[in-house]
């Protein structure tokens, strides 16, 4: 088995690299583990995640859309109700997937499956685990977005090749939510507290100009909705879907870049609280 160890083998030289306590540049091992686990178990769960927004699109877009008829699109041109809500549903599904993966999944694996305890007794640092898990969440989000965009194409809701940019844009949106979600989870100790996350998500889904334009609200509420991330996601994807860009597009993108930066900072600062107790 091992060769005879001597005193010299026991002398370690400490790394001077920043974040040496938290990071070993091996997030790929966490990603490889996630892919292997998905391949052998979770593919059914994965498939159900794909169908959720598709079912919404069918019931609301096609069903409700028959009553609504056409509405005014982001560029002022009339579009079908299904084409109006489809980008919004994509943004919602990006948010839901990212939040689920970075909050409930992390919380469960930390406190119940004890998956991270095992990982953190190896050379992996908490930052490796966080990066790996966020990457997996985004990979999954990218697959869903690709599938959903394909469904939109099949339903004749894509009118421009620019609309394909919705896929990378969804990943950016998901990254914003995932980085933030993991930081938030570090504050959670019980299942009851985790429920608060749903309490925030559901109204955001319903009221972020998802199913009707923002202009139905009085001014004060409009401002409030515009401060929330999902509205920026909805608007961004809606603009991309018809290739109608305005200066507001840059604001939407910057909102998410800022959210990612703040979220990653929060998560990194909270890693010890999240993983090392």
């Amino acid at each position: 088995m091992t060769a005879q160890l001597t005193a010299a083998d026991y002398a370690l030289e400490g790394s001077k690299k920043p974040l040496a306590a938290l990071y070993s540049r091996n997030a790929k091992a966490v990603i490889a583990r996630g892919l292997l686990a998905t391949r052998s178990n979770n593919w059914l769960v994965m498939v159900s995640g794909f169908f959720e927004p598709v079912l919404y699109l069918l019931s609301m877009g096609v069903g409700l859309g028959a009553l609504v008829g056409s509405v005014e699109g982001p560029d002022g041109q009339p579009i079908s109700y299904a084409a109006y809500i489809a980008p919004a549903l994509l943004a919602v599904s990006a948010m839901n997937g990212a939040v689920y993966d970075s909050t409930w999944n992390v919380f469960f694996r930390m406190n119940f499956a004890k998956l991270y305890q095992g990982m953190l007794y190896t050379s992996l640092g908490p930052l490796d685990v966080a990066i790996g898990e966020i990457f997996l969440a985004l990979l999954r989000g990218a697959m869903y977005a690709t599938g959903f965009t394909a469904v939109m194409g099949l339903m004749g809701l894509l009118t421009t090749p620019v609309a394909l940019l919705m896929v990378p844009a969804s990943v950016v949106i998901a990254f914003g939510f995932a980085s933030f979600g993991m930081g938030i989870t570090s504050f959670m100790k019980t299942f009851q507290q985790m429920e608060w996350i749903n309490f925030v998500m559901l109204p955001m889904f319903l009221f972020s100009a998802t199913f009707y334009p923002l202009s139905v609200y009085p001014q004060g509420i409009q401002w409030f909705i515009q401060a929330l991330p999902l509205w920026h996601g909805v608007e961004l994807l809606r603009q991309i879907s018809v290739a109608s860009f305005t200066p507001a597009t840059i604001v939407h993108v910057c909102y998410f870049l800022g959210m990612i930066a703040v979220g990653m900072l929060l998560t990194t600062l909270r890693l010890r609280k999240l993983f090392l107790k």
Binding site: A3, T6, G14, A21, S24, R33, L36, Q117, T122, K277
Partner: protein, 313 residues
């Protein structure tokens, strides 16, 4: 007994503490473990053993005190320290979403080890854990003992220099325990440092060069098993049974025999350097125990002496 290890300590704890809001899990313990030693942490449930183990692994933040592992602070250099650590936690935390062999391979990847090394190593460890036939099985299909063996095999995937074993043989049958002891002996012979907690005193006597008895987050005693027995107990113990009702009443009549007397509900213990002589004295006082037994003092006597007989939780 193996030769006493020399060289600088590979684990050095000084006034190490871990306080939670409402209690002190570890309360200022100090100890050094030299390279190649087999070091035991003994104590009742909740004594702070596991918390100490977790601090050594750098996965639990200490409240105060100093701790160095191979010269590094595990809190500042967690990944580097753990690269040379093998850990068997108290509760198996196998990856239930992966198959048996994949558990070993993926765990090795966490250390950044290449597949060319891991594949033969995983097969070797499956052989050691007698799980070769279960290589492709799901983890939740394994029995408790099999899971334990897989956890132990997993801890060896990176050929650790320090092996932390938190109650390693709890849940193992006697055969598996003896195989594990043999394996640990061989690791020790090759210079691996062992740190273990256990509830089995025979295990501690078998495996530990030196141990500390911990209670309520503090060190109560420290030494080799033989030393501890010498210091905290007598050479022999005489166990007398007079029947449940009579044990405590008879105890009064036994005063003065041996060094110390301990009446228990089911028997009376007399700690004496010569058990047979003590028994003769008992008989000469006209007492007729139902059964009597003279045995050597064990670590268990020391443990109970130091940590008390009442349940803590």
């Amino acid at each position: 007994m193996p030769t006493p290890p020399t060289g600088p300590p590979v684990i050095s704890a000084h006034r190490l503490s871990k306080h939670y809001a409402d209690f002190k899990a570890v309360d200022g313990i100090s100890f050094d473990v030299p390279a190649g030693e087999s070091f035991g942490l003994l104590g009742p449930n909740g004594a702070g053993k596991s918390t100490t183990m977790r601090m050594i692994g750098g996965v639990s933040q200490r409240t105060s005190g100093q701790l160095t592992i191979m010269g590094l602070d595990p809190q500042e250099h967690g990944p580097e320290v753990r690269a040379h650590l093998g850990v068997v936690p108290q509760q198996d935390n196998l990856d239930e979403e992966l198959r048996v062999r994949d558990n070993l391979l993926v765990y090795g990847r966490y250390f950044g080890l290449p597949m060319s090394y891991l594949k033969p190593k995983a097969d070797e460890l499956l052989e050691f854990a007698q799980l070769t036939e279960k290589a492709g099985a799901r983890v939740d299909a394994l029995s408790g003992g099999m899971k334990r063996r897989l956890t132990i095999a997993r801890s060896l995937i990176n050929e650790p220099k320090i092996l932390l074993l938190d109650e390693p043989t709890t849940g193992l049958d006697p055969q598996a325990r003896h195989i594990l002891w043999d394996r640990l002996f061989r690791l020790k012979e090759s210079g691996v440092t062992l740190v273990l907690t256990t509830h089995y005193m025979d295990e501690a006597e078998q495996l530990c060069d030196r141990l500390v008895v911990v209670d309520k987050g503090r060190i109560m005693a420290e030494g080799s098993p033989a030393q501890l027995i010498r210091e905290h107990s007598t050479r022999e113990v005489l166990e007398l049974r007079f029947g449940s009702e009579r044990n405590t009443t008879v105890a009064g009549e036994l005063q003065g025999i041996g060094e110390r007397l301990e009446p228990l509900p089911d028997r009376v213990l007399i700690y004496a350097n010569d058990g047979e002589a003590a028994l003769e004295q008992v008989v000469s006082r006209g007492l007729r125990p139902v059964t009597s037994l003279v045995r050597r003092s064990s670590l268990e006597d020391v443990f109970l002496r130091l940590t008390g007989r009442s349940l803590v939780d």
